[in-house]
Symmetry: C2
Subunit: 145 residues, 2 copies
DNA sequence: TCAAATACGCCTTTTTCAGGCGTATATGGT
DNA sequence: ACCATATACGCCTGAAAAAGGCGTATTTGA
């Protein structure tokens, strides 16, 4: 249904790259942008956001960079999206400071709120660990197909 | 995560309204737009789309209108979204005719495709019936909380 | 002192979303 | 026959959101 935000994609690419490194090894925004092809500025911004939220640790100055400090199996896709995008709800009226001009005549408030809850549960249960570290996912998919 | 498209909201409002009527009773786009406060044109368009896909039946001319012809418990939110929005995938590269400029260097193809599949499954399992006909949903929620 | 890196705010461009307009067509009432 | 009221549909414009570039400050190792 919904297309993944580009910034979230950049974050996932960066995390995937960093997860493949030796523990403690630093990665620069430049390196990430160059290997993935993503724009430097946008990449740098999501790295900063993730550092603020303690998913990464940043080191300033020359030979600086970022390093993964949280176990990705403990980070949900919901958390990642929220820290990058801010809380995104299923409808305007649920959003923080959201004012929908239909709010008085609207007849789907409770369906929308139910859906919102289900969506949050769904994304909360997808961890970046399981998403990015697909070991023998190929085999699994063949079996399912 | 993702905000529901406005057209889909209009469709849900219309369906909810029509589901509350006597079986076979016609509802006009004008009535729906006026009672829900949604813009007439946008509402009319989603009604036409739903009629094309045989969720509604339309009657032309004076005293015309729309009537629900499918059991909403057999219609998924995925189906509704697809017929209104067209197939929407989790990323550009999965979209029909989608060309992502990163596709060769991108390192999250398979995570994205896994996510896409999960999302589709999720929305496929939400029926409009369960979403719109919330009988004693209030009680249910209290118990869960 | 310089080079390389993070940090951050602002701005423009691009793309998508939302919705209005015009017009054709169908149909029942008068 | 004519008109009022509906659906059907394509096109176009304006608003909103997404995407991303620019400038600059700060940190730090060589
Ligand atoms: S339309 Fe109804 S549900 Fe959607 S945002 Fe406005 S009030 Fe909330
Ligand atoms: S970034 Fe990777 S996943 Fe996202 S669209 Fe481009 S290719 Fe597909």
């Amino acid at each position: 249904m919904n297309r993944l935000n580009r910034k979230v994609e950049y974050a996932l690419m960066a995390l995937k790259l960093m997860a493949q490194k030796r523990p403690g090894e630093l990665t620069t925004a430049k390196e990430i942008a160059e290997t993935t092809g993503s724009p430097f500025d946008a990449t740098a911004r999501v790295l900063q956001k993730m550092a603020q939220h303690k998913i990464l640790r940043s080191e300033h100055g020359a030979h600086g960079g970022y390093v993964l400090v949280r176990d990705l199996s403990g980070v949900s896709l919901l958390e990642l999206s929220q820290l990058i995008l801010g809380a995104v709800k299923a409808a305007k009226c649920l959003q923080n400071m959201g004012d929908c001009e239909l709010k008085d005549r609207c007849n789907i408030h409770s369906p929308i709120s139910i859906l919102n809850r289900k969506q949050e549960d769904f994304y909360k249960n997808i961890t970046l660990g399981e998403l990015l570290m697909e070991r023998d996912r190929a085999r699994t998919r063949e079996v399912q197909a």
